[in-house]
């Protein structure tokens, strides 16, 4: 196996992929709505890792005519964090609201979409 000790883009992407798939598994199979929200956070973090990694390894050069680095990936990651924070706030509020009306936060009991 041609595994180089030099850490490169694929390694970070692989970590991101693992994180994403654990999150995916959690979203698919957790009963507790809070756990689902946590898994979602895992997936969002995986995305952020990818964004930063791409920025780091592919676009690591200054903007033409300035001395500033091109950090589009970082800015995108910040926006993802913003959205994730909002999502957690609203999501938790929803879970609490549902819990209050049904005394349960189990996702598999929420089948109002049925028929």
């Amino acid at each position: 196996m041609n595994f180089s000790l030099t850490v490169g883009l694929p390694h970070y992407l692989l970590v991101g992929a693992m994180l994403f798939c654990f999150g995916l598994y959690g979203v698919f199979s957790k009963k507790n709505a809070i756990a689902v929200l946590m898994s979602l956070e895992l997936m969002l973090n995986a995305v952020n890792i990818n964004l930063i990694a791409f920025n780091r390894f592919l676009w690591n050069n200054p903007v033409e005519g300035t001395k500033h680095l091109l950090l589009n990936g970082h800015v995108s990651a910040i926006f993802v964090i913003v959205v994730a924070a909002a999502e957690v706030a609203v999501g938790l509020a929803l879970v609490i609201s549902i819990y209050r009306s049904r005394l349960s936060a189990n996702v598999d009991e929420l089948d109002w979409l049925k028929w």
């Binding site: 698919f28 996702v107 598999d108 109002w112 979409l113 049925k114 028929w115």
Partner: protein, 657 residues
């Protein structure tokens, strides 16, 4: 000449007046019965006077010689179909309404208006106190209008319209006492049975229209060229023959010829004057009149057409006459007698003598109307009793009715010098003369049967033992006066065909020359003999009997005759087993095949729906899993399998080359 024109151009008033009377009674005077009947009778009497005036015009023009060559027509254009000319006619199709005067229609005008007037006068007495008195006279007026319009028609479409109208009036008047179930059923039966014939007639009219482009009688007559006669329709049958057969189906229904005769006896459920007018003297002879009107068509067709007409007429004559022997209802005997005489007329036309057919039509109208009205008088006197075995001894109590009825019996039996003798004689001599010896024999035998059953009726009803429970009395003068007048015509009506010139002097087919024909005593002799033989035989058999001796002597034959050869039962059987069977098959087909397909489509949609409904668990996680599976598949397909995907799916996910 000028006088003739003057009377002819007012001929349209003859049907118009009864129509006016119908409208007045229907919309205004319905609540005042006496006024209604007065208006109706005034209208028909005026029509009668006009008809006589027209007849004088016909006589004035050289006893119709000129009119036979060139019938008088007075027409108003009704519809014009512009565009491509139809058939052989070079002009666009015109449908006209108008009046056609020739000796044939003139004779019919006289007969119809006379009988209609007398029947309406008679009805004043017969229908006295009936709840539907005004309605009755309204129908009578409508019928008179329709029948006269039919007689005066200039073209087949106009004739067909009035043909249907008389059918409607017949329906209304048979079902006049609609609270009686039997009357309702009879009315329906009459209407439907004649509709069968009308369909054939309509088809024939369409055939004519398609080929000739005109329906006008005179124009059609002049189109009968040898080339037209040679036209072949299908399978070697000439077009004219086919058309003639189709048109003849109409008269089979209307004039009660053999397969469609079943409605006429049942039609006796109507008031008796109606039977006299519609089902003896006028409407039922409309078929005969139609054949006479388009006689040129039958002449142009192959001889088989006329042969068929003659055979059917002869068969109907003897068939109905034999049934009449075994009937006990006075009106039914007369009804079968009518059928038999209609068969006689059709036979006359079939053997090639229009003159004889129309002559018999006229005389029959007189004596059959007379006998129906006489029967009505008897029924009226006995309070609706119609079985002849319950009558008896009426001769002494009802002198006028009895005498006039006897005249009618003698007239129909063919005793000279009464009307029936002359007309029957002309038919028989025509049959013999034109080479139909078998039909001549049938006619002779039918004449004997006719004399037999009519004498039977008279002997049992009028001369039989008196019944204590009956209190007959002579009818009022409004009823006896028409009887006397009709009796008069039953005696003298036949003198129009006195030996010197025959009836052809007055009525003969268009384009034919008048040929005087001497009385053929070789024909007349046997005719008189069989007539008298029938009368005497019947008198011997039935005089003084309280029950039918023929029934005792020939029980089986009698039973078959009594049940009218089971024709009604046979039709019922057909309807019950065959028509209903087909109906059931079609019903099954509709329910299980047609509905099955429709329901099946719905069922498939519903089943698929309930099948796929299972996929909808309502759980978001399941949806998410499926979503991701699809996402992976799509991703892999688009990324690594684009060529294959493109080959598999021409709709090309994500665009393709």
């Amino acid at each position: 000449m000028i006088r003739m024109e003057a009377s002819f151009q007012w001929a349209w008033l003859i049907p118009a007046l009864p129509l006016l009377s119908f409208l007045i009674i229907g919309f205004i005077t319905k609540k005042w019965p006496k006024l209604s009947s007065t208006i109706s009778i005034a209208a028909i009497l005026t029509s009668f006077v006009l008809a006589v005036w027209v007849d004088f015009g016909v006589f004035a023009s050289g006893v119709g010689a000129e009119l036979v060559e060139k019938p008088y027509q007075h027409v108003v254009n009704w519809l014009t179909f512009s565009g491509v000319p139809w058939g052989l006619s070079a002009a666009p199709l015109n449908i006209e309404f108008g009046t056609l005067i020739d000796p044939l229609s003139a004779m019919m005008l006289f007969v119809v208006t006379l009988v209609a007037s007398l029947v309406q006068i008679y009805s004043v007495g017969y229908m006295h106190g009936d709840k539907g008195y005004s309605r009755y006279f309204a129908y009578q007026s409508l019928f008179a209008m329709s029948m006269l319009g039919l007689v005066l028609s200039t073209n087949l479409l106009q004739l067909f319209i009035f043909w249907e109208l008389v059918g409607l009036c017949s329906y209304l008047l048979i079902g006049f006492w609609f609270f009686k179930p039997s009357a309702r059923e009879a009315a329906k039966k009459a209407f439907m049975t004649t509709r069968v014939g009308d369909f054939g007639l309509l088809l024939g009219i369409l055939f004519l229209l398609n080929k000739f482009g005109t329906l006008n009688f005179v124009q059609l007559f002049h189109m009968m060229t040898p080339e037209v006669k040679a036209m072949v329709a299908v399978g070697g049958v000439s077009y004219l023959t086919l058309t003639a057969f189709l048109v003849f189906i109409g008269p089979i229904g209307k004039s009660g010829q053999f397969p469609l005769h079943v409605w006429l006896p049942d039609a006796m459920e109507g008031p008796t004057p109606v039977s006299a007018l519609i089902h003896a003297a006028t409407m039922v002879v409309a078929g005969v009149y139609l054949i006479a009107r388009i006689y040129f068509l039958f002449q142009g067709a192959s001889p088989a057409a006329l042969e068929f007409v003659a055979s059917l007429g002869g068969f109907t004559a003897i068939f109905a006459a034999s049934i009449a022997i075994a009937q006990n209802d006075i009106k039914r005997i007369l009804a079968y007698s009518t059928l038999s005489q209609l068969g006689y007329m059709v036979m006359a036309l079939g053997v090639g003598s229009l003159t004889a057919g129309m002559f018999h039509l006229m005389t029959h109208a007189f004596f059959k109307a007379l006998m129906f009205l006489g029967a009505g008088s008897v029924i009226h006197a006995l309070h609706e009793k119609q079985d002849i075995w319950e009558m008896g001894g009426l001769w002494k109590k009802m002198r006028i009715t009895g005498t006039t009825f006897a005249i009618g019996v003698l007239a129909i039996a063919g005793v000279p010098p009464l009307a029936g003798f002359f007309s029957k004689d002309e038919i028989l001599s025509a049959a013999l003369h034109n080479g139909h010896p078998v039909l001549f024999g049938i006619g002779l035998f039918t004449a004997m049967l006719t004399a037999f059953y009519m004498t039977r009726l008279f002997v049992i009803a009028f001369m039989g033992p008196e019944k204590a429970e009956n209190h007959p009395h002579e009818s009022p003068w409004v009823m006896t006066l028409p009887l006397v007048i009709l009796a008069f015509f039953s005696i003298v009506g036949g003198w129009a065909g006195i030996p010197e010139h025959g009836f052809a002097y007055f009525v003969r087919p268009w384009g034919s020359e008048f040929e005087p024909e001497a009385m053929n005593w070789l024909v007349a002799g046997p005719s008189i003999i069989v007539g008298l033989a029938g009368i005497i035989l019947s008198y011997i058999v039935y005089y003084g009997k309280a029950s039918d001796p023929v029934e005792a002597a020939f029980p089986r034959v009698y039973k078959v005759l009594k049940n009218k050869y089971y024709v009604d039962e046979f039709y019922l059987w057909i309807i019950k087993h065959i028509v209903d069977g087909i109906g059931k098959v079609l019903y099954w087909f509709d329910i299980y095949i047609v509905d099955g397909i429709v329901d099946g489509l719905a069922w498939i949609a519903r089943s698929l729906g309930s099948l796929f409904r299972r996929a909808q668990t309502g759980q978001l996680q399941v949806y998410a899993i499926i979503f991701f599976v699809a996402l992976i598949v799509l991703f892999l397909a688009v990324t690594y399998g684009e060529g294959q995907l493109h080959a598999l799916n021409p709709l090309a996910l994500g665009g393709g080359k």
